[in-house]
Amino acid sequence: MANVHEFDVVVVGAGGSGLMAGLYASRGAKTAVISKLYPTRSHTGAAQGGISAAFGNTEEDHPEWHTYDSVKGSDYLGDQDAIEFMCNEAIDAVLELEHMGLPFDRTPEGRILQRNFGGHTNNVTGKPVRRACHAADRTGHMILQTLYQQCLKNKVNFFDEYQVLDFLVVNGKAAGVVAVELATGELHTFHAKAVIFATGGHGRVFEVTSNAYAYTGDGAAILLRRGLPLEDMEFFQFHPTGIYKLGILITEGVRGEGGVLVNGKGERFMPKYAPNVKDLASRDVVSRAIYTEIREGRGVNGQNYVYLDSRPESIIKYAAEDGRTNSDGSPYTITAEELLKKLPDIVDFNRVYLGIDPMTQMMPIQPTAHYTMGGIPTNKFGEVVIDDKNTVFPGLYAAGECACVSVHGANRLGTNSLLDLIVFGKHAGLRAAEYARQADFQKLPDDPTAEARAQFDGLRSGSGKENVFDISREMKKVMFEDVGIYRNEKGMKSAIEKIAEWKERFKHVRITDTGRVFNTELLNAWELGNMLEISDVIAECALNRKESRGGHSREDFQKRDDVNWLKHTLAWKKNGKIEIGYKPVVITKYQPKERVY
């Protein structure tokens, strides 16, 4: 057979989690990393603020505090064993990155510098704690580069610009994946003992998003089609500070360095919503606060945005009000120069896209769709599990944003995602290699590429009366408005109906490009298919969950309901319908209580 490649382990996706998995798997097994983008184009490179680890380099901190903050941040939906595991591994994980050469910013003593981030606190005083290790405001970029470089050093096999279309299951075990080589349009079969999915999120289903074009939920959709469940898909994080209209992210690090949110009347409003940590409350809280301000008519000029104020004089003023101090106890101050050094890219984005200088002007911001908390259910070793009893699917692994361990529960804390990539990417890689050593190759089906081909043929043979971009634009708008920050039954029901309509219309799109080489039109259409699939799951799960928790806020059920809903959602696609089931939350040390920031 032409175009069949054989590897012990195949990693799909070359972002932070995929590379970490590839690096570790390749040490014990013959490994290939397949990515639809060049690895360095993965969205991990966009992460700005930092990666958390309770080093306590500048002030007291402990992994237990980190664990508690994450549990609380997750609105008690995170699995506490996994969270504890991640937070304990954090220190070694970050050190390992440093040993791989990652250029973290430094303290005067030469140690890794840390900054404040939303939801990370000193558990005794309740004040923010510096836990986010960073390299200026391009931490993700440095992680991605460093890991890619280490993979090159370790001679990992890369298949760049190969888009995975299908996952092969034989005898209930992983058998490999099918991918299209973008440059030639040819289909390739990757025959493997173990497959690791690390395909990132699906934020592109929303109109205003900080996510890349590539964030179309391919991995999750592929597995859903193959009958596997997705977990907690109703939980999507809206980051409070995206550039108005564009959605480009302004890192929480800006508030970490002392920036504050200001409404149209010029008032700082966060103290009303989070009296203790104010602007550094966790993201769901801040996003909702901004939305509430806007709804109550306190947006800027009656528009849908508020201001983020990072002018040094404002920072100093508010820091004095808050009694914020440096680690040596002196009052907190900052100069424009220091700010520029700490947040160069943020300053750059403002200059380029808005034509404003954040040192002298305020930034217009609005909440932006940011992070997929839900995804492919896994245990803390990255093994994909397929039911409420955590039954492992042999040979299948997932890590990173596409996976749901779940360490983020209903709301992820800033900086915990990069940590998630490193910790669970590593364990998925290790486990996959270990599995591959004792498992055999499954025999490939006679025509492994059949399913993928059928999907393409379908797109090529439509009637052509519908346009991919129109459907996509409508979908994004409706998803953002009706299944966005605030949700209610009416909106979601109508969204679900519309999704069904779009799916119908989607059958009638046709691809005008008949070529093979870089047929991006075909692939974009295929990706839209995935997004429709995912939107459907998100909306169904959200409609189903009758409470408000973390990133899921319902106007018709405003309270958290631990009696009925302290459980994970699992969603399957069966005979064209979505079926919903549940899985218990693992609770070890921390009993749910009300969240106050």
Partner: protein
């Protein structure tokens, strides 16, 4: 506002030769060139192909020639370039389709400079981080910003001459490691970049520095490398 967008088109499956296609569009002046390309792809000609991902200048997918100069389509707004816009693929690499070029020679050059941290000495006894002062860290900060978009390398006349010239992006990467106080392979890298296809091919044309969307002072970095190959001083 009304703009005319002229786009280089070449589809190897149907075209023998490349040509330009012109589109008249009604757009906002704050839109990105990338938005214009998406618009064309969505409503005029779905076969138009280009790479993109992050849409805000951090992934390096969409470097192309806009009005004769290398830029990122997602970091260039209509108001930056006016109402007559010409978009062409990067120079010095093979065009595979429309605005997509073959990046392999570019990445091959990148891989030549040992683009990874090398330090085989034992870790600090406490098992913690290798210490580095803020000054030492600042020394190579500028060159850590590179997103491998290739805007620089493909703007360099020496690279146009032949793609065996390592090119500014690879040299930027070499700089990032050579000037990192924790790295131990500076000598090997200096040897590599002082070969015929290395720094000596740089004639300080500055196109690279002016093309870099990350504002890296590339020519300065290459200048520092040149002196380092001669003097061995890498402080």
């Amino acid at each position: 506002m009304q703009v005319t967008l002229k786009v280089f088109r070449y589809n190897p499956d149907v075209d023998k030769k490349w040509h330009y296609e012109t589109y008249n569009l009604d757009v906002e002046e704050t839109e990105r060139i990338l938005d214009l390309l998406e618009l064309v792809k969505g409503h005029y000609d779905g076969s138009l192909s280009f790479r993109r991902s992050c849409a805000h200048g951090v992934c390096g997918s969409d470097a192309m020639r806009i009005n004769g100069r290398n830029m990122l389509a997602c970091k260039t707004l209509v108001r930056d370039v006016g109402d007559k816009i010409t978009v062409e693929p990067l120079l010095g690499l093979k065009v595979m389709k429309d605005l997509i070029v073959d990046m392999e020679p570019f990445f091959d050059n990148y891989k030549k400079v040992l683009p990874y941290f090398i330090n085989d000495s034992p870790l600090p006894a406490d098992g913690k981080e290798r210490l580095q002062s803020p000054e030492e860290r600042a020394r190579f900060d500028d060159t850590t910003k590179c997103i491998l978009c290739a805007a620089c390398t493909t703007s360099c006349p020496s690279f146009w001459g032949s793609d065996d010239y390592l090119g500014p992006a690879a040299l930027v990467t070499a700089h990032r490691f050579i000037f990192d106080s924790r790295d131990e392979a500076a000598s090997e890298r200096l040897k590599i970049i002082s070969e015929t296809s290395g720094v000596a091919r740089c004639h300080t044309v500055y196109n690279c520095t002016m093309a870099c969307p990350r504002d890296i002072q590339i020519t300065k970095a290459i200048g520092e490398l040149k002196m380092a190959t001669l003097t061995g001083k890498v402080d």
